[in-house]
């Protein structure tokens, strides 16, 4: 469904991504892991058009999207969340989602209908009781769910999640994992997620990509990847560094 071919991105002299190949099939939940600064967020920014690739191609549902603008990519059905959540702080939770509904792929016209749909989405992420609270007053876990509702408001076919589990406690992580499965199973959304919390990745993803310094280190089922010596070294380093 989403395919990257030799995707490369530089920042000045820094190779943030080098000849990266990846594929995510429809209906999958795929993980992307790697040490800090390995280029995970950069890959999402390249896919969503924020940092155009220097070379290589990105293909979504058979169509090349490498040169598309972020808003065009959103309209094609690729939604994302940000690693550091970015709610529209001055607006209520409901207004945050309403705007996304109105501009997304729902084909909903009119403020009233938009609000109705937004309220449903807030209920879906169990934020209905915080509907009229300014986003500024939401706590971290709530902001993450708001970010998720806003991404879903687009009615995406493909969802990029950048470290949605980080900063959550164990029960919150369990809830979030359940939510992600529901999004995939009920809404039929394909999911590509970046994660640091190893346990969460192992429990959710059917396929994992590991990158380091912008280069693919390994790819495969979670149990294969976690046994891969290169991955173990990248994550745990030589004994001294850990």
């Amino acid at each position: 469904m989403l395919e990257g071919i030799k995707v490369t991105r530089r920042f000045g002299g820094l190779m943030a991504l080098t000849n990266l190949d990846f594929t995510v099939e429809q209906g999958q939940i795929v993980g992307l892991i790697g040490p800090n600064g390995s280029g995970k967020t950069t890959l999402f920014n390249v896919i969503t058009g924020f940092y155009p690739a220097d070379s290589g191609k990105i293909i979504f549902k058979g169509k090349e999207i490498t040169r598309c603008k972020p808003y065009e990519i959103a309209r094609l059905g690729i939604a994302r969340t940000f690693q550091i959540v970015r709610p529209l702080l001055g607006l209520s939770a409901l207004d945050n989602v309403t705007t996304a509904v109105l501009y997304g792929r729902e084909q909903i016209a009119g403020m009233a209908k938009g609000r109705e749909r937004a309220a449903e989405l807030l209920a879906y992420v169990r934020l209905d009781d915080k509907k009229d609270v300014p986003a500024q007053r939401l706590v971290a876990a709530e902001r993450k769910r708001l970010e998720l509702a806003r991404a879903l408001a687009l009615k995406p076919e493909f969802l990029l999640l950048d470290e949605v589990f980080s900063g959550l406690n164990d029960t919150e992580i369990q809830d979030a994992i359940k939510l992600i499965f529901r999004i995939r199973d009920d809404l039929g959304v394909t999911i590509f997620l970046i994660e640091h919390v190893m346990k969460a990745v192992m429990g959710t993803c059917e396929k994992i990509f590991v990158i380091q310094y912008g280069v693919k280190l390994a790819e495969g089922k979670p149990e294969e990847v976690s046994r891969d010596p290169a991955v173990i070294e990248a994550y745990l380093g030589k004994k001294r560094t850990c």
Partner: protein
């Protein structure tokens, strides 16, 4: 249900429309005229400046384009000033479309400075352009009716235009378009991930604001019966527009309205009875105070005080 505002609004409007009937002294008529003008200017400025947060100091460029369009088309081609006012709006909109593409790619202070440059450069051009009277300015040929009737006619015209602009801005604020503009102010990148074509939306707000300011300028020029680059392009006007919107609160259509009414009344009174220099100093100070202590405007500030007291 009938609320007080359902009666208050028509009542105020009827009173304003009927005001010339009591034959007020010219001073009061002009005072009201300038209040309406500033309502129109601040509201139209707010479309981009308030909702998207792209603070422009170039709004007078569009206002002046309107004023000059009316002067030129009336004098040279004898076209009715009511038509030239619309034409002025169209020219302003075209100007906005031309400069908008490069200028709206800039953010924050860079945008503000380049919008200021637009006004400065245009002023220089008009100062040296003989076709529009260069530095001697242009007198308008008045309509063939008495001067009083002329003034009343344009008092009413400005009242209608200011009301229409306020209603348009209020409508935009409550529409999908307005929601998109606010998203841009809050976080332009997030707005893009929502599927918002941010450059195009900013452009639309810029063009619409310019069009409305151009119409205001067209009627203003005629009422004053004279245009001169140093008057119409006055930096002071740009600052006043900005101050009014910030003072009233630029997140909602009611802010610029309140700010324009209160501050243009205050401004006229100070200029008339104390002196223009003093008024400029006071405005400078007020702008600083408002931006530091009440970034959301006096109304929000007052609400905040009230809520805190109740707790």
């Amino acid at each position: 249900m009938l609320k007080p505002k359902h009666i208050l609004f028509p009542l105020v409007m009827i009173m304003l429309f009927a005001f010339p009937v009591v034959r007020p002294p010219l001073f009061f008529l002009t005072l009201c005229f300038s209040v309406f003008m500033f309502v129109g200017l601040s509201e139209s400025w707010n479309l981009l400046g308030g909702y998207t947060g792209y603070v422009s100091l170039g709004h007078i460029a569009f206002f002046s384009t309107g004023a000059y369009t009316t002067a030129v088309f009336m004098n040279r081609f004898g076209i009715s000033p009511f038509i030239t006012a619309i034409l002025g709006g169209v020219f302003s909109a075209v100007l906005a479309a031309l400069v908008g593409y490069p200028v709206l790619r800039l953010k924050g202070a860079y945008f503000t400075i380049s919008s200021l440059l637009l006004a400065v450069v245009m002023q220089l051009i008009f100062m040296n352009w003989d076709f529009v009277g260069s530095s001697t300015g242009l007198w308008y040929k008045l309509l063939p009716v008495s001067i009083e009737v002329n003034r009343i006619l344009f008092y009413e015209a400005m009242l209608i235009v200011a009301t229409a602009i306020t209603l348009v801005v209020r409508y935009v604020e409550r529409s999908k378009f307005g929601a998109g503009l606010v998203a841009i102010r809050e976080d332009e990148d997030v707005a893009k991930t929502m599927g918002i074509n941010t450059p195009w939306l900013k452009m639309k707000a810029f063009i619409l604001g310019a069009f409305l300011a151009g119409v205001v300028g067209g009627i203003y020029g005629y009422y004053m019966s004279y245009v001169h680059p140093e008057v119409t392009f006055s930096m002071n006007t740009s600052l006043l527009i900005l101050l009014m919107s910030f003072f009233g609160g630029c997140r909602s259509w009611s802010g610029p309205l309140l700010g324009a009414v209160v501050l243009s009344l205050a401004n006229q009174l100070i200029v008339t009875f104390i002196g223009a220099e003093i008024s400029r100093i006071l405005y400078g100070l007020l702008l600083v105070v408002v931006i530091i202590f009440m970034p959301d405007g006096v109304m929000q500030y007052a609400k905040g005080l009230f809520v805190r007291e109740k707790r």
